[in-house]
Symmetry: C2
Subunit: 305 residues, 2 copies
């Protein structure tokens, strides 16, 4: 399907969506109440970011998005180049330098009375908003207090976690658990009681100089991958394996990774201070995370004029 001409730079200042084949203001970004993407959460998505006017690792996000589509047997009417054009178009129209850029595919609206997912025409949506921090800069400075919920993340035996999906009731309920107890955010566990992930982020523990993160039951976050690759670059020992709660509670440093802020140090676990905040390993990874945003192989600059 052809992509409409690039919108004017700043045409939808502050944010722009792409819905039903056209660039539109955010207020018009709506989906049918009957779309199975809503009524069955039968959808996948990805979120890339731009930082200082350039996408970061856009190709990795596109790779993951197309892989997710394939795993759920969804398709979009745009090829990779066209998708890239649309995402650039949203950022350009929004006039955004630092942006949160989502691409979404839903199963679509079924024909009347149909129950068969093959009968729906899949729908594609995208939008660019100002960059979203998973924790505000004030909260980051003050120190994030992470609650380890006893709720279990939806098992890979039910929903493939490598497909970025909207099945989040478990994560949202764990957030309520955290707030009830006076903490700032939360992570959930697997059936064996190992830490998996939180609402929109992966979890890392540093113990005796070794960085640990879960190998299963989690989204393979691009920021997680960046942190993993940076460990190799910086010669920081890394272990990707089941992450017991006790290892997290006994860690020297704890951090989370997200496209909504990169590498973010955690100050407390369930109210108990993490010994090193921000820890030296976390700090090195955080600095390196922002530094590689400058490297040409990861940058895809937006044309604003």
């Amino acid at each position: 399907m052809s992509v409409p001409a690039a919108p004017l730079a700043g045409q939808f200042e502050g944010g722009c969506a792409f819905a039903d084949g056209a660039y539109v203001p955010l207020t018009e970004a709506r989906i049918s109440l009957f779309d199975w993407g809503f009524t069955r959460s039968d959808a996948t998505y990805d979120v890339a970011t731009t930082w200082q006017g350039a996408f970061f690792r856009l190709d990795d996000h596109l790779d993951r998005f197309f892989a997710s589509l394939s795993k759920l047997r969804l398709s979009i009417p745009y090829d990779r180049g066209e998708l890239r054009q649309i995402l650039h178009g949203c950022v350009r129209a929004g006039g955004l330098k630092d942006a949160y850029v989502a691409m979404i595919c839903t199963r679509g609206v079924p024909p009347k009375g149909a129950r068969d997912p093959r009968m729906a025409q899949n729908r594609f949506y995208a939008y660019a908003l100002p960059y979203v921090w998973i924790a505000s800069p004030e909260k980051q400075a003050q120190g994030i207090d992470l609650h380890v919920s006893s709720r279990q993340r939806i098992s890979p035996a039910s929903v493939d976690p490598t497909v970025k999906n909207y099945h989040w009731i478990d994560l949202v309920q764990s957030l309520f658990d955290a707030y009830d107890r006076g903490h700032d955010t939360s992570c959930v566990v697997d059936a064996e009681g190992c830490v998996t992930e939180g609402p929109g982020f992966n979890v890392f523990a540093v113990k005796d100089g070794v960085v640990h993160t879960s190998d299963h039951g989690v989204l393979e976050g691009i920021s997680r991958r960046t942190a993993i690759e940076l460990c190799a670059r910086l010669d920081i020992p890394l272990r990707v394996a089941p992450l017991p709660v006790d290892l997290l509670r006994g860690a020297d440093e704890v951090f989370i990774t997200s496209s909504g802020g990169g590498v973010l140090p955690i100050a407390k676990i369930d109210g108990k201070p993490v010994p090193k905040f921000p820890g030296p390993v976390t700090q090195r990874l955080q600095d390196a995370y922002w530094a590689i945003h400058e490297e040409p192989q990861y940058r895809d600059p937006v044309q604003y004029t």
Copy 2:
């Protein structure tokens, strides 16, 4: 919040929605792409039906819906009487005698950049459509072939299945498994390999005169409850307990229950004919299911004029 005046009978002939506090045609039933009800599937819903001009067991659906809201810490701006008014209004405006009537509450659209579910204003939607059969009358006559998928239903340790929810990727993927193998629909299992439920229905097996259905990991369907209550009325022995796949495969009769058709006999399991189709116990329950639609205590007639 006050409910708008009842719409005219047949004002939106064929179907009517209620969105943002007003009755609207179905084409205007849309939600924001940013509503957490979509982007986190943080929502609950219920589906009642009308049959020959009257709601069936509406109070049971309202009870379950309000219980689900409370479990997810959602709220709607209408009390029970107002909600009842809105649902009646949708059916009346749609001019529908046999209707599928949904009520939905979503977490809502977050303030800019917010991650905290407490900060969103919850949204309420409803709609009435023509009655939806989970299998067409032709397919029912021909005989439904049920695939037992090895996929696991999302565990109660992650998402409370008694809260009617849109976390359905597991069920949708099991449907693809079924279609790939030439079957008509599917059910999924739990971690112990016992049968749980299918996409929109509960599963029952009849063996040596005893009716079996799962006691856990399933939606507590109102049609399931009706079947259970009818077993008591009709002196049919019933066992509500984990339902091993082998019991299902070795059953004399198999049926499913859904608001989309009541009690529906299954002809084959994974292509293998069920010995009795439709079986005598299934037939008695099916007849009784429709017969009690006439009983005043279950009927809530719609005023069409």
